[in-house]
């Protein structure tokens, strides 16, 4: 399996290789990895790759996700457009 070819975050197009090398280089938390690579910050709100990012961090740094500081869920939990927020029905 070519880690360069495997896309973890499809929204921001971040590869497994990029995430692994960043996590190894900076020995960072899942949150820092997210901010460094933008993985999990795309349109879907990290719903697809969140667990994978935490697993990559665990693999590269040995940090077990605590779910107190790492990748939390911020409201709105589902992606919602400003149009909908503004009361315009879609």
């Amino acid at each position: 399996m070519d880690a360069q070819q495997v896309i973890i975050c499809r929204c921001e197009e971040v590869s497994l290789e990029e995430l692994l090398s960043t996590a190894r280089e900076y020995q960072c938390t899942a949150r820092e990895l997210k901010l460094r690579t933008r993985a999990g910050m795309g349109c879907c709100g990290g719903r697809t790759c969140r667990i994978l990012i935490e697993q990559i961090v665990e693999q590269a740094t040995g940090q077990v996700p605590t779910h107190t500081v790492s990748l939390g869920y911020q409201p709105p939990v589902r992606p919602i457009s400003f149009q909908t927020l503004g009361g315009k029905s879609s």
């Binding site: 499809r10 929204c11 197009e13 795309g42 349109c43 879907c44 719903r47 697809t48 992606p79 457009s81 149009q83 879609s90």
Partner: protein, 111 residues
Amino acid sequence: MSQRIFHHPVLGSMEERTALQFQFNGAVYTAYEGETIAGALLAAGVRTLRVHEETGAPRGIYCNIGHCYECRVHVDGIPTVRACMTLVTEGMCVTAGSVLPTPLKKGGHAK
């Protein structure tokens, strides 16, 4: 060429349904009532629903259950509409997402 399955060995034949015309990137396609945009386009052989906003890599159906937003398209001018969750209506105008400008990125493109 249509890849729609009209006669299925297990599920049987497709019942009569109202045909709807809709546009995708200016071309006219036919859907049947109750079909999603993604389903109708897949049946028509369209696999690329958009390109990645930054890299231009082609994207299409990924989860097909409304979870991943990979199939997001513009519908009648409204962006970020999930093609897999939106039913086709008559005369609907669907356009694919395109590459967006990245003027603040080093080596990025303005347009």
